[in-house]
Amino acid sequence: MMKDPFGGMLLNIAFRLLVPFSLVYAVYVLILGESSPGGGFQAGVVMGFGIILARLILGEDAKIFNVRIETSLVLAGCGTFIYALAGWLTLVGGGKFLDYSFLPVSMEATHELHALGILMIETGVTICVMMTILNIMDAVVRRSED
């Protein structure tokens, strides 16, 4: 947890522009990653940037951005698990591991199943990258505050 905020009124106002923009842009990068440059890793970095910016500017006042280190460790593991879950779902559907044509969802076209599988694993990657960045920052901040 960051106790002291960083900067004054100017940064507090810039926060209202920068943080929502970076969070929305991260979701855009994640969802359009299938058909344009981008993807899970980049989306995670941009989202982690938005959250770190919010915590640097607001300090203790950044209510939902102050993820506790235990929570962020668990969520990083959950992101990795979502990825592996996509693989297990294809095994349940009767295919090979991570063969998205066999996802147990009824869709007509095979390439739509592939798009769904790619979106699912990239969501997992995004959560893992974002929470790993928060983990490292939390560990450094905690050590310097003690």
Binding site: Y83, T110, A115, I118, V125, T132, R142
Partner: protein, 101 residues
């Protein structure tokens, strides 16, 4: 012992450096990576994966298992950073004062 290690390291460095001479020229269309799998990925990526982005198709679909463990490595690196930087003394070697003498 020290001289032996230095000799072995120098020998290995020489071997690795000399292997650069046998590498294909950058951009050579006849080299093995450009002959074997790349044309298949480039021509089949959109049909196989449904993604117009070849990078995403390769990263998430053809090489999905590889990316899964990459994500795991990232998680483990974050966990390790937290464990190293934390103040918790659990599992640490007990510090003795006479170690510093």
């Amino acid at each position: 012992m020290r001289g032996f290690v230095i000799t072995v390291l120098a020998l290995l460095t020489g071997l690795f450096c000399s292997s650069v001479l046998f590498l294909p020229v950058i951009g050579d269309p006849d080299s093995a990576p450009n002959q074997h799998i790349s044309p298949v990925y480039i021509s089949q990526s959109e049909l196989d994966t449904g993604s117009p982005n070849i990078v995403t198709g390769t990263l998430a679909d053809y090489r999905g298992f590889d990316t899964m463990w990459e994500t795991t490595v990232m998680y483990l690196s974050g966990l390790t950073a937290v464990l190293i930087l934390s103040k918790s003394t659990m599992g640490r070697r007990p510090e003795k004062e006479d170690d510093y003498e």
